[in-house]
Each structure stands twice: as structure tokens, then as C-alpha cells.
Subunit: 209 residues, 2 copies
Amino acid sequence: MQTKQPDLTRDKILHSAFCEIHRQGFQAASIANILQDTGLTKGALYHHFPTKQALGLAVIDEVISQRLEQLVFQPVRDSEHPVEALLEVIATIHKKVPSDFVMLGCPLNNLMQEMSAIDELFQKQLGSVLGIWQKTVEGALKRGQQQGVIRPEVDYKAAALFVVSAWEGCIGVAKNMQSPRAFESCMQQLHGYVGSLLAQPARKGRAVK
Amino acid sequence: MQTKQPDLTRDKILHSAFCEIHRQGFQAASIANILQDTGLTKGALYHHFPTKQALGLAVIDEVISQRLEQLVFQPVRDSEHPVEALLEVIATIHKKVPSDFVMLGCPLNNLMQEMSAIDELFQKQLGSVLGIWQKTVEGALKRGQQQGVIRPEVDYKAAALFVVSAWEGCIGVAKNMQSPRAFESCMQQLHGYVGSLLAQPARKGRAVK
DNA sequence: ACAGATACATACCGGTTGGTATGTAATTCC
DNA sequence: GGAATTACATACCAACCGGTATGTATCTGT
């Protein structure tokens, strides 16, 4: 058995940094806290990541983007009925996510609001994840249109952008209210919006359960 | 002429703090920067505000809430046709606001994402402003229902919460994309959502221009 | 087995942070 | 007009920040 496992310690740092950043934000995230949490030292951390910024960027595309990928992007992308899959995800997301994701907010949204305006690298990195999200919804709506599920006159690009925006907005407001119920109610309205894009209006509570 | 004008210097501090917080966020906002910007010293600042937190809270309810009040709340509340007024505000907000409000984000939303989870006083203060916003939209939809403009089966409370959430979401995403155009497109979709609550669907581009 | 590289630990540093104690000039009140 | 209060300015502080230089143990390639 080895005493030094570089990949494992790297992951430990990434996960701990993710939690610290999720709780405090990036700028307020303390390297010292991460070290205390992991039991490591500065030597270890700065061996794996040259700067705090690099650590933050790594958290974005190795932790945050992966979670979104498997929680939201994949189910929608891999489905044969993408619009239904999207509605399903919107309707059930509040159950699939730990409640502190409402209390602490969406990690992606938190970082976007904090960093986009003051750090170009963060802005681009976050923007690429957001872009994937947007493209995923866009693809779902487009395919839905081809399948005749979505009304043909819908501007699917604009609608996709709005879906993602409103989604993040719902988490953000629910975070301030510290209310998972508000989040659920809000997402239900978003569900209704997507439903209003359908060619044949959904019956009440159709895809909700 | 007086050389010392306490109210005036207090306002100068508030305004400068507002800008600094808007640009950097609250935690990263530097007291030193505010002093440099105003030309004052620590003695002055800490004479008017006991702590940085108190300054931040004062900025919320003396600067941020006032701006929202006159930009959004009042026009909707004072109108005899509140739903039309709401649609008007949604459709034209991107023109009435300096473009750096898209680049830097909504001051209220920025602070909510940053502070709600880590400071209870901030959360409550921000929540009260958000609550006014919500109640304003709620009142508009309710009155619209009474006037027969909004369909009777609409859950106006849930819809109001969603409108505010999506609104903030639109600014937030546009901020990351650094794109006023995205903001405009996004708000147009929100406009469409509110339009979908109308008893008689609006003609294309009706209230848009 | 030995050399070089990797993976850490320890100790230290300059700069910045919010906050305070003290001093002083201007204003207000009686 | 003098005393008290208000409105500032100056100087200072401990704590914390991210980052680095250096040392050492472990691992790997040959």
C-alpha cells in the first residue's frame, strides 16, 4: 500500500474546495479552511494547484460541471423524448438534490454572480458550462419541434436561454427565502412555461407526476 | 457656508459604498477603496457607520431599495392598469437602466447570492426588498384578475414569485454572458410568460412597443 | 540500487483586512 | 461666549490573506 496517492489527495482538495466555495463564495473561501478540512498543508495544495484561481477553475469544470452533467444534461440529451425528459427533470429536480443546494444556492449561479464581472477566466469557464446547459435545452426544444411536440413558431433558442435563466433565478430567490417550498413552486411555474410551448397543451399535472 | 455637512458626507459614503459593493461584492468590497473614492478617512466612516455590515445594510435599504422602488415598484403600483404597466416595465427595462447594470448584475441579486446563506441580517434585509417586489407583482396580477385581464384560474402568488425569480435570473445569466442583448431577449420571453396569463392573448408585439 | 522526479511538510513573508484609540476642529446649545 | 456635543482626521493594531522558499520523504524509471 502506498502512502502517497496524488490523484486521491487532488480529489480531496477539489471536493473540499468545492464545499468551501459553495458555502463562502470563491473570494471569501479560505485556503486555510480547506487545508484544515483535508488535513493537508500548503505544500500539498500548491503542488497540485499553482494558485487559488486555478483551484477555483478546476472546481468548476471537474466538480460543478460534472454534477450538472449527470443531474440535468445527460437525462435530457440521452432521451428519445427530450421535451418530456426536460419537463420531468424540471418537475423532479427539487427531490433529486440535497436541500442545502437550495439553502446554499446553485454552485454555478453563485460563482456567476460573484465572479463573472471581475475575472475573465472565471467568466469564460462558467460561461462554457452555462452554454452547455443552454445548448442542451435548445437541442431538446429543437428536436421537440422536429417531432411536432413543440409548436413550430417557437423561437427555441430564446426559449432555451429563458429556461436556463429562470431556472437559476428560481434557485437564487429560493436561496434568499431559505425555502425549498418556494423553489418547488417556482419550478412548477417554469414547468408551466415549457408546457405552454407544446403543440397540444398538457393536461393538468400531466408530466408533473 | 458650513465646512461640515454630516448628511452630505453620509450620502457620499453610501453612494461610494454602493458602487464598490456593486463592483466587488460585499465581502470583497474594501473600506480603503471607499475612503479613497470619497476622500474621507476612517474616522469619518466609522463615525457614521459602526461596522462594515451596518454600512452594507444601509446601502440595501437606502440605495438599492429606493432605486428599485422608483424604477419598478412605483410604476406598477401606481398604475390603474397594473398588468399593462408590469408588461411595459418588463419590455422597456433594458432601456431604462445603464448598461453596466447588466454587466455588473442586479445589485439586489448579487447580494442575495453572496450573503443570504452566510449572514442572517443581510438575508432578512434583502428578503424584505424582494418581498416588496413580489407583493408588487402579486398585487398587479390580483388586480388584473379582478379587472378580468388575467385568467381567473391563475395562481397569482406563484406566478408573481416566478416573475421575480425569472427576472433576476435573466439579469444574472446576461451578466455572465456580458450581453445586454441576451438580457433583452430573455426579458422578452418573460414578457411572453406574463402574456400567457392574460384572458385574451395579446397580439404579437402589442405591449412591446 | 541508485538517481531523479514526484509528493508532500514546515516556516516564513509582505500586504491587506476591518476595527479602535486618541486627538482636534467645527458646530450647537444655553 | 463658553461648554458640550458632533464631525471628522491620524496613527496604530492584531488577524488573516494568498503565496513562496526550502527541506524531506516517498516513489519511479533504469
